[in-house]
Subunit: 135 residues, 4 copies
């Protein structure tokens, strides 16, 4: 699936664990950062959603760890987005820079809580209409 | 699959995000904690593995977020373990205490790096022989 | 100053950094945890304060790092509390268990934000009256 | 004291706590990041120190929290450096961008562990000679 957004990021030293590699939980942070950056670039930031009473929450995450990032590494994170009913599915890939060695494949499924209950996600789908993969 | 180990844990306030719920990445920490506690209880701690040159690393994680933990919540985390070739598959479940509301299902696949290369995991399988689910 | 509360805690493997010691920022988490545990034990939890519109925030932190905690270590954290005008000063000490080797001395100064502005802290002082060190 | 280095950084959403402000422990991460960036820019990266057997560790931290960073905020972090015997004292300031509202003043004292024991820090002092404040 063709990415609709990419961003770059550097490993922070405190993200390493005692094995000298980035701890597995930090990749969820990296993916979240890229999604939030995408939302902002697409014109509807997380803060704006929050102000509109839309709370996107993670419903499912699948992470394939291919290789490890280490001290001083830089990465590129890509984002694509499709809608499946009330769910928004983000396919994301992390590769190390500058050699583009694959690091992680992630599939993150988001649902929207609006006013405390699960919504159909229509407002989000409308806001991101031009970015949603056509199925 | 029947759990072979359970542990309990309390949410720490700094693990909450601005939505007032535990940030999605922290669940990987909770699952890791429970696996490490299990290894120690089973007689082969993470520190001992490290001293033996065995570095378990996460190869794949599947996380189904069912409900959210909040400030003051306590949880129970269960662990089961099976071997599939060079891979060790941990099925883990988090429920909220005391009502056992389901919070998260996780499947974490681990491989072993020994002396810098992927191993068949025989030493780990031997150490955890009595805990491995019979397939 | 005599501690009014102590709690015990174990280092979590993901809190270590690539030097194999607990990263310096995690000690602020440990100290916060102990203060929150104290507040709850003293009958006025952080969640209850929040519900009452009282938001304690850190105004100043002084941390003396004496020795490092490592994988598998357990610690004891003590708390004492005094009031200085609108400020609540917590003196906290972390020692390694079971040998009580000193790890960290901390002085954390808290102020209260109530309804968006700095308060004199009278409600907090009243709630913790019996625990405040007499000056 | 005149800063010898500045860097800019954006708040990450997962760094916020349930009060909607950056959790106090994250500022130690921000300050560490700026020091490591400075070291790299000055030609002697943390990774290179590590390879040379030099392990800088935090000995003392003083943090004055002046105002809070929130979702979407950007910051500037400055660094200055002086030597006091075996200690390296970094004075650091964080301000919010673009209005330069003061956020935090920090004084971080570092010592060097070389081959497991406290060193006089001569190798570090030599490497950073031109950056050290003249006393």
């Amino acid at each position: 699936m063709k990415p609709i957004f990419t961003t770059t990021l550097a490993v922070r030293d405190y993200e390493l664990d005692s094995q000298g590699i980035v701890n597995n939980a930090n990749y969820l942070h990296y993916l979240e950062l890229a999604r939030h950056d995408f939302c902002e670039a697409a014109g509807y930031s997380f803060a704006a959603m929050s102000a509109d009473g839309i709370n996107p929450v993670v419903r499912r995450a699948e992470l394939d760890y291919i290789s490890s990032l280490r001290m001083g590494d830089r990465m590129e994170i890509s984002v694509s987005m499709e809608r499946r009913g009330a769910r928004f599915v983000f396919r994301q890939h992390i590769s190390r820079l500058p050699d583009h060695q694959p690091v992680l494949d992630g599939v993150i499924t988001i649902v929207c809580i609006e006013n405390g209950t699960l919504s159909r996600g229509d407002r989000l789908a409308e806001a991101f209409r031009e970015w949603l993969v056509d199925k």
